[in-house]
Amino acid sequence: MRHGKKNNHLGRTASHRKAMLSNMASSLILHKRITTTVAKAKELRKYVEPLLTKAKTDDTNSRRVVFSYLQNKDSVKVLFDEVSIKIASRPGGYTRILKVANRAGDNAEMCFIELVDYNTFTTTSETKKVAGKKRSRRGSGKGKGTPQAVVTDTATATEEKAAE
């Protein structure tokens, strides 16, 4: 019986799955955002978040433990030297999954998974302002509170700035 066995095998053997998740985790750490299917992203989240937590204590042992999962010197270095500083104050929940349109070809549910603390889009925001859009992208912030109200507040703030 498979009661309580919640892991998605993703149609792969254990070794194939492990290798794929390892590669995806390295890519996520190096690129901060990767595009993949929703199922893979949800499995990757379970794989990579404990590694990010482990990276908060920078000693030889934790580096070796993390390396045993990632098998990639570059990503381990980036993780311990850059990412761990960014995520130091965050108590878990380092990744965000945002669904995008289904893939053309097989209609798979696609998404991107990203590191929350690297989520910056300044250039796009500038272009938006040039195009005359008043809405601020920083509206709802990180929280899941009342995004609508905050959005209107910042929108009016930008309008006031524009008026000045």
């Binding site: 945002l98 669904k99 995008v100 349109a101 991107f112 989520n119 889009f121 250039t123 796009t124 925001s125 272009t127 938006k128 195009a131 859009k133 809405r135 992208r137 920083r138 509206g139 709802s140 995004p147 609508q148 905050v150 959005v151």
Partner: protein, 61 residues
Amino acid sequence: MAHPKRKISKTRRDKRRTHDVCTPATFMECSNCGTTVLYHHVCTNCGYYRGRQVLAVEIAS
């Protein structure tokens, strides 16, 4: 080997299929550009999600 004794009548066939219904996907309007988007999905037109720019999208003209 066991075989069907009779052809399934149109009524029986259609009665069986009464539960084979597909529910259409539900859509909402993007809060930024007003195009139709799926719930819980990033707007593919402007890259907004929950009132925030999350995806760099080239703006047409």
